[in-house]
Symmetry: C2
Subunit: 301 residues, 2 copies
């Protein structure tokens, strides 16, 4: 067994996503040769990312995944690609299942064929609505759970060692997603008032650099554990209501935000208190919410 | 609430399968108007089945399922279609996921759109290898479990009432599947010797008529229960080793079979003792193994 942090050959899915792109940079900074498996639509974005060992193209076929795995022979697979939808409509069923269940199954089948056994998989705390062992907030979360059932099969039959990290809210520099933090930063910049829900829902915001360190740490765990599947929560340890999050951003900015709380309703199945899951052993977040927000603001100015 | 056995409008998937075709006949005998949702490849077989209310065609699109559900407006959906594989190879991944996860999800989405809330779903005791709560014998069983995770989402969000029947081995008249009983009946007819495993694995063989009665009973439960998912085992109550099964068939036939036990190895992850699951309340099997085998033999001669 190598010492923690030894560079390994990695295969990464979801490399153009927010967390995936940061993880690629973290792995490369640690000296890992990283190949990427991605849809053709990602090619342009990937061409702007430096030093990728190889980009393998996925258009839907199992054979493509098998060929990529056989050629690159990674020691660890990081599976971050997914189709994220807070709410779906009926036109999105096929895409959700093929992105979140089929593609992952093809990846596992290819790992089996190539004798690759270490997987780090991105799950979501939304699999655990109301703190339940399993209760999906939305169909997206249900497809993540469905994939974990497929993982279980390969742990039983091909020596797969899988670590699933269930993520909460993420934030950090370069985040292009239209999520809360981006709206708040816009509000900060323009001074325009913004209507929000009552703001009493508890959030668990984790800086993307801490999340990437969790993924690297999970890779070491996957490499050293016996065949099986482990699930860990990647929590900031700083749970704050939305109102407190806004106050922390105001503190970081030295400026008030024109938020009108209570103007909007909570969305259906809003998570009021996030799940408390088993912590990833040996990993602790290092970036406080206040420091992380200061970095965000510096990055924007 | 209607009395048990009231005819209802039903939509059936898997109507050309062994259990599905028997269930269609049972439902029709009970006066249910049954529509069928099936792939174009099933059209010829379906054309030989009498009195189907309507055959809806499924070529893969969610819109087809939504349109069928909206037009037929069933009170109960029986979801029996699946791609069964005792062992898969890598060319079958896409078919397994699309048949066993995607199609079912489309069905649930269409039920939600049409306000249809009662589902009876076919699962397998192979989801419970070694008696575990979840431990799939094969990838087929893992996809069945994955679908149950999707079911859970709809029970939480659209009032779905789902009963999953986990089935053991089935047998009965008209069985064209190349499974154990057909091989044994061939052996009986030809007198040719047949090599088998040591024969000490325990089997739970249920006659298809008893299984169909379980599906009808499960429909009543689904119609009367609150939103949620229930899982029941459909067991014969007569567990026999393979050797004892052969002896019972010999008794039914009044003739010895030329079986050579111990010539073949058990297959990987052979189920030696089937899972014991929660029994379907209010249902009991009525056909003993000996009587069922006598019917099989009469049917063949």
């Amino acid at each position: 067994v190598s010492a923690p942090g030894t560079p390994r050959r990695a295969l990464l899915t979801g490399a153009t996503g927010f967390i995936g792109s940061h993880l690629l940079a973290h792995l490369q900074a640690a000296g890992w040769p990283v190949a990427v498996l991605a849809r053709p639509s990602a090619a342009e974005l990937l061409s702007q990312m430096p030093a990728i060992a190889k980009v393998y193209t996925y258009t839907g076929a199992t054979t493509e995944v098998i060929a990529a795995m056989a050629e690159h022979k990674p020691e660890v697979v990081f599976h971050l690609s997914s189709h994220f939808l807070a709410a779906h409509d009926s036109t999105q069923i096929e895409s959700l299942i093929s992105s979140n269940v089929l593609f992952g199954t093809q990846l596992l089948e290819a790992m089996k064929a190539a004798g690759v056994t270490a997987l780090v998989n991105a799950g979501t705390s939304w699999q655990n609505y109301a703190g339940d062992t399993y209760n999906p907030v939305n169909l997206y979360a249900a497809t993540k759970q469905a994939f974990e059932d497929i993982v279980a099969y390969y742990t039983q039959t091909s020596g797969l060692r899988a670590v699933t990290l269930r993520l909460y809210d993420s934030y950090g520099e370069g985040d292009q997603r239209r999520k809360l933090l981006r709206l708040l930063l816009e509000c900060l910049r323009t001074g325009e008032p913004m209507g929000m829900s009552p703001g009493d829902q508890v959030m668990d915001l984790v800086h993307v650099d801490d999340i990437c360190r969790a993924f690297l740490h999970a890779a070491e765990l996957a490499l050293e554990m016996p065949a099986g599947a482990s699930v860990y929560a990647v929590s900031s340890g700083e749970r704050r209501t939305l109102k407190q999050v806004v106050a922390t951003l105001e503190e970081a900015a030295g400026q008030k935000l024109a938020i009108e709380f209570g103007v909007r309703a909570h969305r259906p199945r809003e998570v009021m208190v996030p799940w408390v899951g088993p912590p990833l052993p040996g990993w602790v977040p290092t970036i406080s919410l206040l420091d992380g927000f200061k970095r965000l603001i510096r990055d924007r100015t």
